[in-house]
């Protein structure tokens, strides 16, 4: 059940080029959020729509989100000061189903943060967790120490080779799977859509279960207005239907997603 709460901002930091970490205090939301769920944040009176941001981490009653400044909403959010109050709706959506025993997390860019919570929850449940993380550039790299402590191993790539392997995170995924088909029994992935559809494709080729976290422009964020749809294969796999990213997702099985309708 979601809550609408006015939450005190505990801290806001720039953690990489254009990337901010914001921690707010809300026991109701912190007490009920699962990995992969998101919050819907009101970014000032001037903007009509809330902005969806995944929860990255929890600590007692504290909720951490990490976001990239993109437009007016995230820019407003990045200017918040400690002690201010923000209007947050959450937790929203269905999170990851941690129904494997050896998870491989595949994150790209601003899709990396929600995977941290999955890593922590899975490792607390005694699962084996490893991560492949891709970034555009070394100056965009975030959360490496946190992933390192939650995972057995973490491998990093950058598109320009400024840190880790040179190339895409999907290249890492292919090498790993080709080296050892049993490296995992479930892939969880979050990142830009082009990357996700590539991950889905690779997972399918390797007959590996895979969950992806999608993005879509949102209105209500709670499932009522039907603006956030993405194309999903009907059960059986023949027809097509639209699912609500906010309420039926944002996490979907990679096999049900129709990639050119999202």
């Amino acid at each position: 059940m979601p809550f609408q709460r006015n939450c005190r901002v505990i801290e806001v930091n720039q953690i990489a080029n254009g990337l901010f970490s914001l921690v707010f205090d809300c026991s109701d939301i912190a007490g009920s959020t699962k990995a992969g769920q998101f919050v819907h944040i009101s970014c000032g009176d001037g903007l009509l729509l809330r902005r969806p941001i995944s929860v990255c981490d929890l600590d007692g009653s504290l909720v951490r989100i990490i976001f990239q400044v993109k437009g007016s909403g995230t820019s407003w959010l990045s200017e918040r000061k400690q002690g201010e109050v923000i209007d947050v709706l959450g937790p929203l959506g269905k999170g990851f189903a941690l129904d494997g025993s050896r998870l491989l997390l595949v994150g790209g860019g601003i899709g990396v943060p929600p995977l941290l919570m999955a890593a922590r929850q899975a490792s607390e449940q005694g699962k084996k967790v490893n991560a492949l993380l891709g970034f555009a550039d070394a100056d965009k790299v975030i959360l490496l120490p946190e992933f390192a402590s939650a995972c057995d191993w973490v491998e990093v790539s950058t598109e320009n080779g400024s840190l880790g392997k040179h190339g895409y995170v999907t290249d890492l995924l292919i090498s790993r799977l080709e080296a050892n088909q049993n490296i995992c029994d479930l892939i969880l992935s979050c990142g830009p859509q082009a990357m996700l559809s590539r991950v889905a494709h690779i997972a399918k080729e390797h007959h590996m279960p895979c969950q992806v976290s999608l993005e879509q422009r949102m209105g209500c964020g709670i499932g009522a207005c039907l603006v956030c749809s993405c194309g999903i294969k009907s059960p059986g796999g023949e027809g097509k239907s639209f699912a609500r990213v906010c309420a039926d997702g944002p996490v979907f099985s990679s096999r049900e997603v129709i990639w050119d309708e999202t």
């Binding site: 009509l48 729509l49 809330r50 209105g219 209500c220 499932g223 039907l226 603006v227 749809s229 309708e261």
Partner: protein, 304 residues
């Protein structure tokens, strides 16, 4: 003394004048997690069609200055499924249930009206103003003749009051309003969304996959208020005012212009509790102004 918020509308008692607008509130399930739906005067459910509809491809929403564009395109499970699975849920609450219907043909409208009034919804809202579908919808609402024939067809079969929802995308909304009144409509609701567009200049593409969409939210409030005022002067049947209402002040402006009920749509996206806050603000205003009920302000605009 506490002011009386009850309203009689098309022969029905509404416990208060605040309803929620079709398409913004689903079938009520999601918002029922936030508050008891019995606190609402009524619920206009998501627009229904005879058969289930998938709606338009995403993205379906764009933000504009104090407004939003949507191009949902009437995604819904169809009228039968609504009656089977959604209506029983809504019936658990002590609030008026208003079924919003769109057809591709006049026959579809009357078929739906029959099914829904048999299923005992409280009122029908005949949508002749959806800008997001090619067939039907808006086409019916921009022409007095077709507005009239849809209204007549629905009235002929409906056992519950019929409210027709008007489009603002017309030269003369009073002409359509009068046509619906003459055809027997029991009430009118307005406005639906105004057709608009946004372009992503980085991609050189429309933000909406459907290219255009319907503008709603505070940006359209002055247009909605003007049309409600014009229509209330032109017709004798009651009017439900909507379009950009986001606070009690807006609702009260609508009452001064002549609306008997109001409906809150886009405002819920920002604040799920908006309808309740508006209801409370109306009550506070009436108390502060020493008015016993909405009758004391409705249509009472001074324009000397």
């Amino acid at each position: 003394m506490k002011p009386d918020l009850a309203v009689t509308f098309a022969g029905l008692e509404f416990k208060n004048p605040v309803t929620v607008a079709s398409g913004t509130f689903g079938f009520g399930r999601e918002y029922s997690n936030f508050f008891d739906l019995s606190q609402l005067g009524g619920i206009c459910v998501k627009g229904l069609t005879l058969k289930a509809r998938e709606g338009n491809p995403p993205p379906r929403i764009a933000e504009t200055p104090m407004g939003i564009l949507n191009s949902v395109g009437l995604q819904n499970p169809g009228v039968d499924e609504f009656i089977k699975t959604e209506l029983p849920f809504l019936r658990r609450f002590n609030t008026r249930v208003i079924a919003n219907i769109s057809g591709n043909t006049v026959e579809e409208y009357s078929l739906m009206a029959e099914k829904l009034s048999d299923a005992a919804v409280d009122m029908l809202e005949v949508n002749i103003s959806c800008p997001n579908i090619r067939a039907g919808g808006l086409a019916f609402g921009t022409n007095p003749k077709s507005a009239s024939s849809v209204t007549k067809a629905v009235k002929a079969v409906s056992k519950v009051p019929v409210m027709v929802k008007l489009s603002p995308n017309v030269t003369d909304i009073c002409e359509i309003a009068l046509a619906c009144e003459d055809a027997g409509a029991d009430a009118l609701s307005l406005i639906n969304t105004i057709l608009g567009m946004r372009i992503d200049i980085e991609a050189g593409r429309p933000v909406l996959k459907n290219i255009t969409g319907g503008l709603s939210g505070p940006a359209i409030f002055p247009v909605a208020l003007r049309m409600v005022w014009q229509v209330c002067k032109a017709v004798k049947i009651p009017v439900m005012g909507m379009g950009g209402i986001s606070g009690a002040e807006d609702a009260i402006e609508m009452f001064f212009a002549g609306a008997r009920l109001i409906s809150v749509g886009t405002a819920c996206f920002k604040d799920p509790y908006a309808p309740l806050k508006i209801r409370q603000g109306i009550e506070e205003y009436l108390s502060r102004k020493n008015k016993a009920s909405l009758n004391d302000i409705r249509g009472k605009l001074i324009t000397d």
